[in-house]
């Protein structure tokens, strides 16, 4: 896209480390100069060669949790997960925050088009005991400028991403945040209309753009 076509040539870009993440909220991980030998001094396996799981109740802290324990924990899908997990690429998935912006080489999370606070689940994860409960996901998007012509495309990409990633019992609503866009009514109508969404995805050019945006989602 030519530079002159940009709706907002200078969006505020957050660095990856500034994005909300589950891991930042957890206790600090030792990384000072003295932590060089932590793997030897505070090993998960107390003594070399021990194969049995030693009493796991000792490890109450999050950072010490071993992999099996995280695996077995039952955690329903929550807002953070839909937004995107921590930014360690080896161990996480990103649903929305890492979708690329169609005009800048940054992600939707970095320019705060997608915000953690604007993702709503009902019933909330805590109330949802059975994973098969019918759940509504509402995502409000905030375009960087209120006349953004690509708002529909971004909304469409978010919708496609969620449909491809969430289980069938999730109902998805993608909207522009109130007042964030000059024509939010029209955009919302377009995004909410199944027929129009399906028709849009038949369009090869549009499909190409959306696929490109979703390439950065892992």
């Amino acid at each position: 896209m030519a530079k002159s076509d940009l709706d907002n040539a200078n969006p505020t870009v957050l660095s990856v480390s500034q994005l909300p993440s589950r891991n930042l909220a957890k206790g600090h991980v030792r990384k000072g100069p003295d932590s060089k030998y932590d793997h030897i001094l505070f090993p998960k396996q107390w003594w070399a060669g021990s194969s049995l799981n030693t009493d796991p109740s000792v490890w109450t802290s999050d950072e010490d949790e071993d992999d099996d324990l995280t695996l077995a924990t039952e955690e329903p899908i929550d807002e953070q997960e839909i937004y995107g997990e921590n930014y360690d690429p080896s161990s996480c998935t990103y649903l929305l925050s890492t979708i690329s912006d169609p005009e800048h080489p940054v992600t939707l999370g970095q320019i705060a088009v997608v915000r953690l606070d604007d993702i709503h689940l009902s019933p909330s994860p805590a109330e949802r005991l059975d994973p098969n409960t019918l759940t509504n996901v509402e995502v409000d998007l905030t375009p960087t400028v209120n006349h953004c012509s690509l708002a529909t495309v971004i909304g469409l990409a978010v919708r496609v991403r969620l449909e491809n990633a969430l289980p069938p019992n999730y109902r998805i609503v993608v909207r522009m945040k109130d007042g964030s866009h000059a024509q939010d009514d029209q955009v919302n109508k377009q995004l909410g209309d199944k027929e129009r969404v399906a028709a849009a995805l038949e369009n090869d050019t549009l499909k190409g753009i959306i696929e490109k945006m979703l390439e950065t989602c892992v």
């Binding site: 600090h28 003295d34 030998y37 997960e81 999730y170």
Partner: protein, 1164 residues
């Protein structure tokens, strides 16, 4: 004589160069044979007559007609002349007489006047050969140059190769001192020949020729005294090329743009007489503003620097231009944005300061340097108050002032003063940060100057003795302390980090006393205050609650690094620090601490270990105090004794969690050893340390004479009784190991015979790991002479060895045995293997086993694995008949046999037996002990036996080949390279046929067990080991999956194992699965659905989650490995299953499901 004519003809007709040079050699030989008689030389020269005569007519003709009709003859003529040139090249250089040389020079020289088309290349080459002749006279050289210059305008028309020959000729003549003298004589300073050459060669553009040309030009400047006009002409000749670039060419010529740049630069810097031209020229280029690209700018700056570095006669060549250079360059830094140009500019400024200072042998008058620095200071002073330019101005000032020691001593006081004034009224936090950064960099540069003080003029070192230092000492109270204590919201962590770095830099500054003794610059009290300030940052975490402690961890980490540097120089600081921390720790109650306090304890202890032990302290006196006895190990000893005093923090822990505090103390000690070992490895070569890791003495014997608090004594002592070791003596390492062994001995005795309450499994394990590290570091002889193998079992207390043998040791205490044994080399353990000796007794000991926990059995087993692994029997060992291991293995064979054929052994007890047996076998397996093979039939029978004990064997047999850290070369274990293949071949391979289901009830049961055993082994082997049995294996895996999902019991361990192996096969050899895709996909989906349905909790839930994750991993990887046509049929149901799976209970599983879904979405 006609032969010359023939050769000439042959030469002219020949096409390839080797043939031509052969002919030339023949001619040369002929001339040599006749001793260069006039007749032979004459007929040789005349041999090319036929071609030369035609020349004249040809030339006239072509001149008239201006066409190239005679070009064929030109080539022949050139070749004919080439014949002469080549002959000269091959000819003995001492043969020709002077008059012959003169005549030949006349002949070839004439070519430059007459034959511009054909004669030049060969003539130039011939002249160069003649110049090398013994009969060459300098006057002839002058004539050569004059002759060549007659080419005039036609020079340009010659090919690049011809011009190359001419440059070579010039170069060889000009470099010849005798020709040089002759030229000076003839031309004087007007140097007419130079002007002629310059005119001749102007406009050269060929890179290869230019390299020669740029070599030639500096010689004119350095070797010839030229008039100003000529100098200017020469300068114009090379400066016209500046800045030089090179177009990319399709044919590489072996010359880069950088070569050319360097060559031109060398011309500029060749002689100071061009200084008055060069500097204005270069500055003029630089001042063109934005038109100059970065690379050109760099070229200019580097050239200026080269000139400054290389011009002689500083006073006349450099001094007059300094102001101009400075005025132009300061903007490069002040307003510059590109790091490279800023660095290059600073290099120039530094070069000026260095030239003005003088050389290492002669110093210039101080006013030169002072004037220069004053100019810089005057221009930059005001900028320091302006936050926009602080950094740049400071950089300029600091660079100039810290260039050399004289500049530093002259101006540092004023500079520091300006910064200090500005720091009092900073404009913003980042202004403060920039100013602090400057101050810190100045301190750092001073330290570097001090370190290199001996490299320059002797006056430099003297300067440090009288150096003004009050302004630095005052920095603590005037600058750093107020910022630190006046912390406010506005004080960013960046500023605090700078303060911490500055404090460290300040406390470690060294200076020379008048008597030549090195001491610290700041006084003891300031050092001590700095230490306590930084210490407070670290101990705060313990004293405050989580919410009150707002210190940024980056600042804490910086403080750790700062303290590490400070206590290495101010050695008393470490004791202060440790005592403060100790007091802080002792203040608290550690019986049931919170997680936050425990983490704070872990951090402070780990930091103490790092600060004191990661560097070998330096031997520096304190200002105003006489030097003390110095001990390189003092910090390590202080840490060890303090930790010893602190242990146990929690005297009566009731759970592992409560004993964590105790375990952290041992960890800190372990950390201290690791860090100090690193410090030694950093300071000394590994080879040197190897030589110092042993001793021929028995240290343990020596320890007996020492009291229990020997390490305390050592630490307190002023060093009077021990041999004083310098910090750069590798003996430090040996002494360190000795103290370490003492600590291990002490720790073991405490753990084994002292109060038992503080010792939990974890604390024992920590102590054992520490012991393993120390033992591993000792060499074989020392391990033997200290008899460590025996001591492993009596815990360094032979007198206390309990009569009932080692088995009466408290359960987890056995970890201590493991600690020592795992670090020992096999040769140091030989004694243990005597028949009925300690090893055999231990490995075959089953007493009380019925009452122990599985975890304890696991420890026992691991010790047995190490013992079985490091065994060596045979001649000249303690087990000459090689029977010990055989007996041990057959003992366990019998045990297993009995337990699986009779119903006497309870499965819970057998589980413990089996653990020990499998570990023992695994140790022997790694060594490929043949005695293991005797157990193959026993184990196979046991697996198929109907009782529950058989199932235990089947499930755990994989332990034989399980990767174990203890069985690694680092732990001196004996591990054969292909032992897993070996074990697999003997234990798993024979079972494949038996494991296939036949439909018969009886065999079906055994087949199931065999399948379990195979899976257990396979899952512990790398893919390559079972690669050739994939056909059988895949069928077994699918059957196992189907059976368990059909029976609904998918929590069986073999489900997870089968999935793991399938994932492995899919990654390595997907072809093997191609025929089974349908079965795998169906079984996979079924397994996932079964696992998702199951709502069990606890351990079962964990097993289920891992089954779900593995299934999704397997299913998700399939589309990447196979063509769509194989998968289309399954795509829809698979996508439905995966869509459901992306709502899995476990987040981990959902992640895998999402990836799987993406992969399958591509199958259309």
């Amino acid at each position: 004589m006609s032969s010359f004519k023939d050769w000439a003809l042959q030469y002219v007709l020949a096409d390839d160069e080797t043939a031509q040079s052969e002919i030339a050699k023949k001619a040369a030989k002929e001339i040599e044979n006749t001793r260069a008689s006039s007749a032979s030389v004459g007929s040789w020269a005349a041999s090319i007559q036929p071609w030369i005569t035609i020349t004249k007519q040809d030339d006239d003709q072509s001149d008239d007609d201006d066409d190239d009709s005679g070009s064929g003859d030109i080539i022949a003529r050139a070749k004919a002349l080439g014949f002469l040139a080549d002959t000269l090249e091959a000819l003995d250089k001492s043969l020709l007489r002077p008059e012959q040389v003169i005549r030949l020079v006349g002949f070839f020289g004439a070519m430059f006047s007459y034959d511009h088309k054909a004669g030049i290349t060969a003539s130039a080459k011939a002249l160069r050969q003649l110049h090398a002749m013994k009969g060459f006279k300098p006057a002839v050289g002058v004539k050569m140059i004059e002759d060549v210059c007659k080419l005039k305008e036609d020079f340009k028309l010659q090919t690049a190769a011809t011009r190359f020959e001419i440059y070579e000729l010039f170069l060889s003549l000009i470099q010849d001192q005798s020709v040089n003298n002759e030229l000076q004589d003839k031309y004087g300073t007007s140097s007419g020949f130079i002007v002629e050459i310059l005119q001749l060669c102007q406009n050269e553009r060929d890179p290869r020729n230019l390299m020669l040309w740029f070599k030639l030009l500096p010689i004119f400047l350095t070797e010839y005294s030229t008039s100003d006009e000529v100098t200017e002409e020469i300068f114009k000749a090379f400066s016209a090329y500046f800045p030089i670039t090179l177009r990319n060419s399709a044919t590489p010529i072996g010359i880069t743009a950088d070569d050319l740049k360097n060559a031109v630069r060398a011309c500029f810097a060749s002689h100071y007489k061009v200084a008055k031209l060069a500097f204005p020229f270069l500055i003029g280029k630089l001042d063109q503003g934005d038109a100059v690209t970065v690379s050109v700018k760099l070229d200019i700056l580097k050239t200026i620097k080269a000139c400054i570095d290389q011009y002689d006669n500083t006073q006349t060549s450099i001094v007059p231009h300094i102001n101009k250079i400075w005025n132009s360059l300061k903007y490069e830094v002040r307003n510059g944005e590109v790091k490279e140009t800023i660095d290059a500019t600073l290099d120039v400024l530094r070069a000026i300061a260095n030239r003005l200072d003088g050389t290492s042998t002669q110093k210039f008058d101080v006013s030169l340097l002072k004037n220069y620095i004053d100019t810089v200071v005057d221009d930059c002073r005001d900028d320091l108050a302006n936050p926009t330019y602080t950094k740049q101005a400071g950089l300029l000032l600091m660079t100039v002032i810290t260039t050399n020691i004289r500049a530093y001593t002259l101006e540092s006081t004023a500079f520091v003063d300006i910064i200090r004034k500005n720091l009092r009224l900073p404009k913003s936090p980042s202004h403060t940060k920039d100013l602090l950064l400057l101050l810190n960099s100045t301190l750092k540069s001073r330290a570097d100057l001090f370190k290199n003080r001996k490299q320059g003029h002797p006056e430099d070192e003297e300067a440090f003795k009288t150096e003004p230092s009050d302004h630095l000492v005052a920095l603590y109270h005037d600058v750093y302390l107020p910022i630190w204590t006046g912390k406010s919201e506005a004080t960013t962590p960046e500023v605090l980090k700078q303060v911490v770095q500055g404090l460290a830099s300040l406390a470690t500054q060294q200076t020379l006393r008048p008597d030549g003794q090195i001491s610290l610059l700041v006084s003891r009290s300031v050092c001590s205050e700095i230490c306590s300030l930084l210490t407070h940052t670290l101990t705060k975490g313990l004293a405050l609650s989580q919410n009150d402690n707002s210190t940024d961890s980056a600042v804490e980490d910086e403080a750790v690094l700062a303290l590490q540097a400070v206590v290495a120089a101010y050695t008393d600081g470490y004791a202060e620090l440790v005592e403060r921390a100790k007091a802080e720790i002792e203040k608290r109650d550690w019986t049931s601490p919170t997680k936050y306090t425990l983490n704070a304890l872990r951090d402070i202890l780990s930091r103490l270990a790092f600060i004191g032990c990661s560097r070998i302290p330096l031997n520096v006196a304190l200002d105003g105090e006489s030097p003390k006895t110095f001990k390189p190990l003092q910090h390590f000893l202080k840490l060890a004794t303090t930790l010893h005093d602190l242990f146990p923090l929690s005297p009566l822990p009731t759970s592992e969690k409560e004993s964590l505090a105790n375990s952290y103390i041992i960890s800190a000690l372990h950390g201290g050893i690791l860090h100090f070992r690193d410090a030694c490895f950093e300071k000394f070569e590994p080879k040197v340390l190897e030589a110092y890791s042993g001793s021929d003495r028995n240290w343990l014997e020596e320890f007996k004479g020492l009291s229990k608090d020997w390490s305390h004594q050592l630490q307190r002592e002023d060093g009077s009784s021990e041999v004083i070791i310098k910090e750069d003596d590798p003996e430090v390492y040996r002494e360190f190991l000795r103290i370490c062994l003492f600590i291990v001995r002490h720790l073991y005795r405490e753990a084994a015979y002292g109060k038992q309450a503080p010792w939990s499994e974890r604390v024992f394990a920590q102590a054992a790991n520490l012991a393993a590290l120390v033992v591993r570091s000792l060499d074989e002889n020392l391990q033997k002479s200290c008899n460590l193998a025996q001591n492993a079992f009596n815990f360094f207390s032979p007198e206390n060895l309990s009569p009932s043998g080692p088995s009466s040791i408290a359960p987890f205490r056995k970890l201590l045995i493991l600690g020592i044994l795992q670090g020992l080399r096999p040769a140091a353990m030989a004694e243990l293997y005597a028949p009925q000796g300690i090893a055999e007794t231990f490995m075959c000991d089953t007493s009380r086993m019925a009452t122990v926990l599985l975890a304890v059995g696991e420890i026992r087993g691991t010790i047995c694995a190490v013992l079985a692994n490091k065994y060596k029997g045979g001649q000249s060992t303690f087990d000459p008949e090689s029977e010990t291991m055989k007996r041990v293995l057959s003992f366990w064979g019998e045990q297993i046999k009995t337990a699986t054929t009779t119903d006497d052994t309870d499965p819970a007890i057998f589980e413990v037996y089996n653990t020990v047996a499998m570990h023992t076998l695994a140790g022997a397996c790694a060594r490929q002990d043949k005695n293991v093979l005797a157990l193959v039939p026993i184990l196979h029978e046991a697996i198929a036996s109907p009782g529950p004990n058989g199932a235990i064997v089947a499930r755990t047999i994989g332990g034989l080949v399980k990767t174990n850290e203890l069985l690694s070369p680092e732990n001196h274990a004996v591990v054969k390279r292909f032992y897993k293949q070996w074990a697999y071949t003997h234990f798993a391979k024979p079972l494949y046929d038996l494991a296939l289901p036949t439909g018969d009830e009886d065999t079906a049961f055994a087949a199931g067990r065999y399948t379990t055993a195979i899976l257990s082994l396979v899952s512990n082997c790398p893919f390559e080991v079972y690669q050739e049995d994939l056909g059988h294996l895949v069928r077994l895996l699918i059957t196992a999956l189907n059976n368990s999902s059909a029976s609904g019991d998918i929590t069986q361990p073999q489900v997870a194992t089968s999935l793991e192996v399938l994932v492995e096969i899919l990654a390595n050899e997907p072809e093997a699965l191609k025929g089974h895709l349908k079965a795998i996909i169906t079984a996979g989906m079924k397994t996932y659905e079964e696992a998702a349905k199951n709502t069990s909790k606890g351990n079962v839930a964990r097993a289920l989650a891992s089954v779900r994750k593995l299934t999704l991993q397997l299913l998700g990887a399939i589309p990447k490995k196979f063509d769509e046509r194989h998968l289309l049929a399954y795509a829809l149901p698979m996508q439905r299953t995966l869509a459901k799976a992306s709502g899995d209970k476990s987040r981990e599983a959902r992640k895998v499901a999402l990836l799987a879904r993406e992969n399958w979405a591509k199958v259309v």
